[in-house]
């Protein structure tokens, strides 16, 4: 692709970020977050299926995490470099948690 730049500088082309969504989209995401929180509370009343309930709670928590990070923090729309930076932090945080838990259980 001809970027109009000298040959040596053409590698520095960055994808254009997408526009941030409308207020209506943010309100929809907010409603979904509220509904997930209500579901998290209600699922605690399910007895005798702890593995299933833990899996559901983990999935709902991850969904909320990605909704807030993706929409409210604009990671779905901003340059991917920002997602990469956050992913490094979250990955290291997760690995630290898993590693210490494994050491503690050993």
């Amino acid at each position: 692709m001809n970027t109009g730049l000298p040959t040596g500088r053409q590698a520095k082309v960055t994808p254009l970020p997408r526009p941030h969504p409308s207020a209506r989209t943010f309100i929809t995401v907010g409603i979904v977050l509220a509904a997930i929180t209500a579901a998290e509370f209600l699922v605690l009343y399910v007895r005798g299926m702890s593995t299933l309930v833990v899996t559901i709670l983990a999935a709902l928590s991850v969904a909320k995490f990605f909704l807030v990070a993706g929409y409210f923090m604009h990671l779905r729309f901003d340059p991917r470099l920002l997602t990469g930076i956050f992913a490094v932090g979250v990955t290291l945080a997760t690995l630290i948690t898993i590693a210490v838990r494994l050491i503690n259980m050993a």
Partner: protein, 212 residues
């Protein structure tokens, strides 16, 4: 479609209104925003260390003053809802600032700060209740780990409220208009991060404790 980062102004049209910026960057991303994401990444690791400390020590308590004896899951669900909705108010404030709706942005930011204060009120009530029930910072390793983790989160919320109040002060004239949109957005990033941390803490500390 592409743009050239090194020949580009500090940010882009992301909210529908023109936003002026004082500097150019190699990445095409405002340096404050880039730096703040690096800060958020490091904060993730900070909270992970506190969380893993809690997970290691959470069973170290005296009979009758453990998580299931003390936690009020209904109350914490309500405070979680309040914090989530504060994030919604914050993003609507950022959106309004980017569209140069200064007074509207200021109202949303004010609502965010008020909901942050409400969350802190819930936490103060919870801490007081736990203390009177026999759980202090030094009564058990569970108490130490719990208060340290949730206390640091609460301190982050309190710092966020102060930040939002300073934004409101700076926008007291014409509101939080498009020229202040980047400031509002960075404050918003902090606020949403504090919300994300609570999403994890609410599940790990509270919800999973009540699974039967």
């Amino acid at each position: 479609m592409a743009y050239h980062g090194h020949a580009h102004h500090g940010s882009v049209h992301t909210g529908g209104a023109h936003r002026s910026h004082a500097h150019e960057t190699n990445t095409g991303i405002d340096n404050r925003k880039l730096g703040f994401w690096l800060f958020i990444a490091s904060e993730s690791i900070f909270f992970a260390c506190l969380l893993v400390g809690y997970l290691v020590y959470k069973n170290g308590y005296e009979p009758g003053v453990g998580p299931r004896d003390l936690f009020n899951i209904e109350l914490t669900t309500i405070s979680t809802f309040v914090l989530l909705m504060s994030s919604l108010a914050m993003v609507l404030g950022v959106n309004a600032a980017q569209r140069n709706l200064g007074r509207k942005a200021r109202r949303w930011v004010l609502l965010t700060a008020l909901m942050g204060l409400a969350f802190l009120g819930f936490q103060a009530y919870e801490f007081t209740h736990f203390y009177h029930a026999g759980l202090s910072l030094s009564s058990s390793v569970f108490g130490t780990a719990f208060y340290t983790l949730t206390g640091f989160h609460g301190a982050h919320v309190a710092a966020g409220v102060v930040w939002l109040l300073t934004l409101l002060y700076h926008g007291r004239g014409g509101g939080l208009t498009a020229d202040k949109a980047d400031d509002v957005e960075v404050a918003g990033l902090y606020w949403h991060f504090v919300d994300i941390v609570w999403i994890v803490l609410f599940t790990v500390l509270y919800l999973l404790e009540f699974v039967e």
